[in-house]
């Protein structure tokens, strides 16, 4: 598992209060992890802070699974 994946999963666990084993890369924030649209806004903010990337709203809208987040961060971080 990549270092980005570890850090993303840790943020998801902390923000959504879900068990770590549920946060697989295929997991959908809304369908599998109980997030609502505002939780996703908060998660995106946390990813921006953690990785020093900017995730514009149109890109954030396409992040629906843990894998989407990891992929976006890995291809955009400095």
């Amino acid at each position: 598992m990549s270092e980005t994946a570890d850090r993303v999963k840790k943020i998801v666990v902390e923000h959504l209060g879900v068990e770590a084993e549920k946060v697989t890369e295929d997991a959908s924030f809304i369908d599998d992890l109980g997030a609502d649209s505002l939780d996703i806004v908060e998660l995106v903010m946390a990813f921006e802070e953690e990785f020093g990337v900017e995730i514009p709203d149109d890109a954030a809208e396409k992040i629906t699974t843990v894998r989407d987040a990891i992929t976006y961060i890995d291809s955009n971080k400095a």
Binding site: H15, L16, G17, L38, D39, E42
Partner: protein, 419 residues
């Protein structure tokens, strides 16, 4: 007219995470006051408060007991306290698994005086330091006053009236009184009602201190600072927490065999029309609130055995309230006891009236009245009144009156009796 009784109690206070622990500590003359731990108060005129204690404390509060991790992260402490106290009250009343049909007739009215001040303070610093894109998407609904009622409704599926009173330090009493009227008017059969507060943050302490409302002379002796009616009193000590009661239409409560603590028989309201922070110089507003509540109750003045005073420990307010009680009750004042539990838990602002109404109910249940701590050298104007100094007192308690007065000159009195 439909009658309203109390069938459930819930509390988070500086002396306990539940009703019975808080009451036991109140009766044992314990104090919830300490040096402020939430932030470094070194530069502040007032450095003490009655904080709700951390989970590792003997009577600490653990939010995880009833509240999801996610909600805990998103909302201010006043909502957490209110939601937990509401859960306690519903559990106590045996109403946590009401049917859908019943839940259409169960409402919520839990208010707060100030709301999410710690979160507003914190997020304004985020905005200033990091810009608008770092402000939490949960900022607004995690700070709004009516979001205790909202969260309680969502958590327990309560679909009746959903309301929130905001009348400063009268909020808790107004919430209960107004909710009772919703039952009387047949808007609901059950109301979960009360108040909550947590303004224990740098901005809250600085603001009240600048308004010259807080005690500043007892920073090295926190437990001695809240001393209503004592000559050395110099301001209130800020508290935090929540009090919530379940109000229920009497026939419904009787039919389901509910435990009935008390009947709410009187509610009076008034406005001072005088000053934003100072009470009316003759206590005229407080007098009229009590007078109206007495009239509604149908009781005689001599029927009131215990008054839980607003009694905040400010130099002006305590004696004005006592003067108003003296004028209204006349000779009957010699037979009643009157104390201020703010001496033990501080001033819970919007939560005060509800927490104190619960102490009144427990006085009815246990036939004992809680003490006024630190009343060592009573003010001149207190002669001939039993202010229950220092220790609790066993006595006959058949009817009780609770006073709450708030900034803006808003007053509320509640009267309850055993059923």
């Amino acid at each position: 007219m439909r009658r309203v009784v109390v069938t459930g109690l819930g509390m988070v206070s500086p002396l306990g995470a539940d009703v019975e622990t808080s009451w036991k500590n109140i009766l044992a003359s314990k104090s919830g006051a300490t040096r402020i731990t939430r932030f470094d108060p070194t530069d502040y005129a007032c450095q003490i408060a009655c904080e709700v204690k951390a989970p590792d404390h003997e009577w600490g509060f653990d939010p995880a007991k009833r509240i999801d991790h996610k909600i805990q992260r998103q909302v201010d402490p006043f909502i957490i306290y209110g939601l937990d106290a509401a859960g306690q009250a519903l559990e106590d009343a045996g109403l946590t698994d009401a049917s859908e049909e019943e839940r259409y007739r169960i409402g919520v009215s839990i208010g707060s005086g100030i709301g999410g001040l710690p979160g507003i303070e914190k997020e304004s610093l985020v905005l200033a330091e990091k810009g608008p894109r770092r402000v939490s998407p949960h900022f607004v609904h995690g700070r709004l006053i009516n979001l205790i009622s909202g969260q309680v409704s969502i958590r327990y599926g309560l679909m009746g009236p959903n309301h929130a009173v905001v009348t400063a330090c009268s909020t808790g009493a107004h919430s209960i009184g107004d909710a009772a009227r919703m039952i009387i008017m047949d808007d609901a059969d059950v109301m979960v009602a009360g108040g909550a507060e947590s303004a224990l943050c740098p901005l809250g302490i600085a603001g009240f201190a600048q308004a010259r409302a807080l005690s500043t002379q007892f920073n090295d002796q926190p437990e001695r600072a809240s001393r209503p009616y004592d000559k050395a009193r110099d301001g209130f000590v800020m508290g935090e927490g929540a009090g919530v009661v379940v109000l229920e239409e009497y026939e419904r409560a009787k039919k389901r065999g509910a435990k009935i603590y008390a009947e709410l028989i009187g509610y009076g309201m008034s406005g001072d029309a005088y000053h934003v922070t100072a009470p009316h110089p003759e206590g005229a507003g407080g007098y009229r609130a009590m007078e109206v509540a007495m009239k509604r109750s149908g009781l005689s003045l001599s029927d009131i055995d215990y008054i839980n005073a607003h009694g905040t420990s400010t130099p002006m307010g305590d004696e004005l309230e006592l003067g108003a009680v003296r004028r209204l009750f006349g000779n009957a004042i010699g037979d009643l006891s009157m104390s201020s539990t703010k001496s033990a838990i501080g001033h819970l602002l919007g939560g005060a009236g509800a927490v104190e109404a619960i102490f009144c109910i427990l006085a009815l249940r246990d036939q004992i009245v809680p003490p006024t701590l630190n009343l060592e050298d009573p003010s001149e104007g207190t002669a001939g009144v039993d202010l229950v100094p220092l220790v609790a007192k066993e006595r006959s308690v058949k009817a009780v009156l609770n006073n709450s007065f708030g900034f803006g000159g808003t007053n509320a009195s509640l009267i309850m009796k055993a059923v």
